[in-house]
């Protein structure tokens, strides 16, 4: 039967690196992109005899993340060891939270094609990153050896485990994008999928429409972009549907997404089912959080996407399209609000950001934080426009220059001589010149063809290199022509 006759069931396990300065259990730096193995110490290298000491900031960030995801924050939580051997895991166990995670039972909301969707969060727990393997061949399977870099080993992570609430690959992608947005708003993770600071594994299964019992699921790994999440799950849903249609069974297994080939592949492994032998970490003591501590962190959270969207719609009265687009990108929203500090008309600002601003950003492939135009300067440009110093047409030219150079609008206007001509005698002079040089249209006008006026105003603008105040050009041209009648 066609895929439409199946219900797709998807749950995601998302890992996000927390933006602490140091690792979860030692004081090594977490900064990205440095020489291999230059950010390791006896503790994260797992040398015998070393002991972990918990980073208080990681706890704070985990609580903030949990609060932002509407979770219950545990007054009592603790760490466990997850035991498995792998070259990138220096202690051969990962310190994680198994029995008593720091956050449970939350939810996130988002819109899919205009319809509101709520996905439950089962738990959020803290754990440490593993190191990074660089393989000698093109893939891990072709590699005769691998090289281990432990700089990443020990960076704090939160794992966010969703309920199996998603019903389409698109929902899964939007859920991921929503999570990223929330975590970035909460300022606890930079969520860069390309640097691996945000990753996800997906569980997906199919069941016939109307059924209540979930089918056998497969776990999909190695989806390294939001697009990949959707593509991999679309592929996997089809693959499972074909299997089921053919009367075959879905095997419970881990599969890896090959983005270039566009397929998922079974991760061939002789390893028996994992037995992580979790047990309480004896080297760390429990985390006991007071309600006051939790409330303080909750209160310290900045405005989150859903609240911001509602405010933009209700208080700023932005059109829904603009409001959604701006809030979907924390940096853009921050920029928007920074401009509003200096310029009150939100619609003008929003229009400009949706238009010229995004056009240039997209053209040049920039991120918001790379834009040279200071919010204050953009606001100043709007003020120049309001005062009639520049026309809206000139404003575009001015903005392009500001975007390129980072200069303030006054400087650009002065440098390029773009100040609008509003001087009556100057405009009257230009008008006389235009009348002199365009005898034919002028006589047409005088014969009653009033439409020609537009052409003549255009000539005034052209003659003044666009600097003439358009309203004045219109007004004085009309006056001069009427005198000739």
């Amino acid at each position: 039967m066609p895929l439409e006759d199946y219900t797709i069931v998807i749950g995601l396990e998302v890992h996000a690196e927390l933006m602490t300065k140091t690792k979860l259990f030692c004081s090594c730096s977490t900064s990205f992109g440095n020489e291999a193995n230059s950010q390791v110490c006896p503790i994260c290298l797992g040398l015998p005899g070393t002991l972990p000491v918990l980073n208080e900031k990681a706890v704070e960030f985990a609580v903030k993340a949990g609060s932002a995801l509407n979770c219950e924050i545990a007054n009592f939580s603790k760490f466990d060891r997850k035991n498995y051997f792998y070259p990138d895991l220096t202690k051969a166990y990962q310190i994680s939270q198994y029995e008593m995670p720091i956050c449970r039972y939350g939810q996130v909301e988002f819109f899919v094609n205009g319809v509101k969707k709520v996905v439950g969060i089962n738990r959020v727990h803290m754990e440490e990153e593993a190191g990074k393997s660089v393989h000698s061949g093109a893939t891990i399977t072709d590699s005769e050896f691998s090289l281990e870099d432990y700089n990443r080993c020990g960076i704090p992570l939160i794992e966010i485990v969703s309920e199996p609430d998603m019903r389409s690959p698109e929902e899964a992608r939007i859920y991921m994008e929503t999570l990223r947005n929330i975590l970035r708003y909460a300022n606890v993770s930079d969520c860069k999928m390309e640097e691996g600071s945000l990753r996800c594994d997906a569980n997906i299964s199919l069941m016939p429409k109307g059924a209540t019992k979930f089918g056998t699921r497969s776990e999909i790994k190695n989806m390294n972009s939001f697009k990949a999440v959707q593509k991999a799950l679309e592929y996997e849903a089809l693959r499972q549907a074909e299997l089921l249609d053919a009367g075959k069974k879905v095997v419970q297994e881990t599969r890896t997404w090959d983005d270039s080939a566009g397929i998922t592949m079974s991760m061939r492994s002789k390893e028996e089912a994992h037995d992580y032998r979790y047990f309480p970490e004896p080297d760390l003591v429990p985390i006991v959080l007071t309600d006051e501590y939790i409330q303080n962190l909750k209160d310290s959270l900045p405005e989150l996407p859903v609240a911001k969207l509602n405010r933009y719609l209700n208080e700023l009265e932005l059109p829904p399209y603009d409001a959604e687009l701006i809030t979907a990108n924390k940096d853009l929203a921050d920029y928007f609000e920074a401009v509003l500090e200096y310029y009150k008309d939100a619609k003008v600002v929003s229009n400009w950001l949706m238009g010229e601003f995004m056009r240039l950003i997209n053209e040049q492939g920039l991120e918001i934080d790379q834009v040279k135009v200071k919010p204050k300067d953009l606001a100043a440009m709007f003020t120049l426009q309001d005062k009639g110093v520049i026309s809206s047409k000139i404003a575009k030219t001015v903005f392009e220059d500001m975007f390129k150079t980072g200069k303030d609008p006054d400087a650009v206007v002065k440098e390029k001589g773009l100040v609008q001509i509003s001087d009556v005698s100057e405009i009257e002079n230009i008008v006389q010149d235009v009348i002199k040089n365009n005898p034919a249209p002028v006589s047409q006008y005088l014969e009653g063809k009033e439409k020609v006026l537009g052409f003549l105003v255009g000539q005034v603008m052209k003659f003044s290199h666009g600097k003439a105040n358009p309203q004045m050009a219109n007004e004085y041209l009309k006056k001069a022509l009427d005198k000739l009648k």
Binding site: P42, L45, G46, L47, P48, G49, T50, L51, P52, V53, L54, R81, N83, F85, Y86, P87, T90, K91, A92, Y93, S146, E148, D275, R277, Y278, F279, P282, D283, L284, V285
Partner: protein
């Protein structure tokens, strides 16, 4: 003046009065070590040249009046405590070339105090054993009878102190690894309250049970050395932030009215008659000093050994997993793939007892068995702790034999793991409950083998425990040290 016959505190006085130098002390010990080491095998690594250099530095400190109690007094260190750039092997092939790039917290303290380190002492491999027979470097001998074991796992440290190869030594105690060898070699061995001494840099056997403690020839030295070792360490999350005590100051107080508990369960089946007699005599001596003897019950202590061996091995299976041949330690030539390399490196690097305990611990944690074994053991641990909590409402200290019998002969138990585990039958309870306990000589058997008496106290009551030991030591006299032909 035979410097090697002096206690550490006596040496301190002589140094203080400038009658001797640290170099003279260290030289005397070097002579003794060199003479006896071929017979005893107390050490895995000797650091004698460095010790001489450190002795000279200590003499400078004394001259400059920047010295403290133990400045200039040498010490031996069990080879499971990390020493910067000095091999730390755990008496295992796995770590036979391992040079830590850092110092354990206790080592940092020793260095800061200006104590020359004579060397790293032999032990059962990864502290798993009660005789030093599981050491990759061969067993150490008991200075009282070279045919017999010195106990373990800190057997090298115990033998070194008993044989006057060092005035002081450090050991670690997970289920009796300080107290049992102390008893078998006739010296004083103390396991502090869990969390009193930092574990940072101690290569873990069972993290929730391990504690570092001193080996000394008498109780006063034990108290003084504990003064130096104890204290909060920000590098060890499980270290206690309590106010510091002066254990030496606590010695010599009258014990009139002290309530001494005598647990029935420790005096039953399996206890050697001569050991029992000596321990009861010691208890009588305490009574003579004015202590009040109270019979008590610790019903779950009989189950301690069974709980201990599951908890300790479960933690050990995880702690020793990092020894996979990737970053340090032995790596097998068989490198077909990473998994094969892991399996063969570990098979070649670990001895049979370590493998057995890793297997037992892995089993106890594995799916389907966790509840029946590991979790069950943790619950029994609670019952054992509750026993002690109840007992310490009635008594101030508890006195028991340290071991069921005196030093046994080589080979006698090594083939029967369970028989070997029974050496720890009286000592594991203190580790499970996290409370302090110490062993001190209670006398000699007819065969001239030392007998140990154990004193157990509530958490952080080391002062009372040490004062009881000090009183007992004065009352029953010392057993002296073995006469070894050099």
């Amino acid at each position: 003046m035979e410097l090697i016959n002096k206690s550490a505190l006596e040496l301190h006085d002589l140094l203080d009065k400038k009658e001797i130098t640290s170099r003279e002390i260290v030289e005397a010990y070097i002579k003794r070590i060199e003479a006896l080491e071929p017979k005893l095998n107390s050490f895995v690594t000797l650091t004698l040249e460095q010790a001489l250099e450190d002795a000279d530095k200590a003499d400078e400190m004394i001259k400059n009046k920047t010295s403290t109690t133990f400045t200039g007094i040498p010490i031996a260190i069990k080879d499971n405590m990390c020493t910067y750039h000095v091999k730390t092997t755990c008496s295992s092939k796995m770590l036979q070339d391992f040079k830590p790039p850092y110092d354990a917290t206790v080592i940092a303290k020793i260095k800061k105090a200006g104590m020359p380190i004579l060397g790293k002492t032999n032990m059962d491999e990864f502290a798993m054993g009660s005789s030093t027979e599981t050491s990759f470097f061969g067993p150490s001998k008991n200075p009282w009878d070279l045919e017999r074991v010195p106990g373990g796992s800190s057997g090298g440290s115990a033998a070194a102190v008993a044989a006057k190869q060092a005035p002081l030594a450090l050991g670690s105690d997970t289920g009796g690894s300080i107290r049992q060898p102390a008893a078998l070699t006739g010296v004083v061995g103390l396991k502090p309250t869990y969390g009193l001494v930092s574990r940072y840099g101690l290569i873990a056997f069972a993290s929730s049970l391990d504690q570092i403690g001193p080996f000394t020839r008498d109780v006063a030295d034990s108290a003084a050395l504990l003064n130096m070792l104890a204290g909060y360490d920000p590098k060890d999350t499980t270290s206690l932030p309590n106010k510091r005590s002066d254990y030496l100051q606590a010695l010599g107080k009258e014990i009139r009215g002290l309530r001494v508990g005598l647990p029935r369960e420790f005096f039953g089946e399996g206890l050697d008659k001569e050991v029992e007699k000596a321990v009861l005599k010691a208890i009588d001596a305490l009574a003579t000093e004015g202590a009040q003897i109270v019979e008590i019950d610790l019903p779950y202590s009989k189950k301690a050994l069974a709980a201990y061996y599951l908890i300790a091995t479960a933690e050990a299976s995880s702690n020793l997993a990092r020894l996979d041949g990737v970053r340090y330690g032995h790596r097998s030539e068989n490198q077909k793939d990473s998994v094969t390399m892991f399996k063969h490196s570990r098979a070649e690097g670990f001895g049979p007892e370590v493998k057995r305990r890793i297997m037992l611990g892995t089993y106890a944690l594995s799916a389907g068995f966790y509840d029946a074994y590991y979790l069950k053991a943790l619950k029994v641990r609670t019952l054992i702790k509750n026993d002690f909590d109840a007992a310490f409402k009635k008594v101030d200290v508890i006195v028991t034999p340290t071991t069921p019998s005196v030093a046994f002969k080589f080979g006698e138990k090594v083939l029967d793991p369970l028989a070997m585990y029974l050496s720890d039958v009286y000592t594991t309870t203190a580790n499970l409950a996290g409370i302090p306990a110490m062993s001190m000589p209670a006398g000699l058997t007819k065969e001239k083998l030392p007998i140990g008496v154990q004193i157990i106290a509530p958490a952080l009551a080391e002062e009372i425990m040490l004062n009881t030991a000090y009183t007992l030591e004065k009352a029953i006299g010392t057993i002296g040290l073995p006469t070894l032909e050099v």
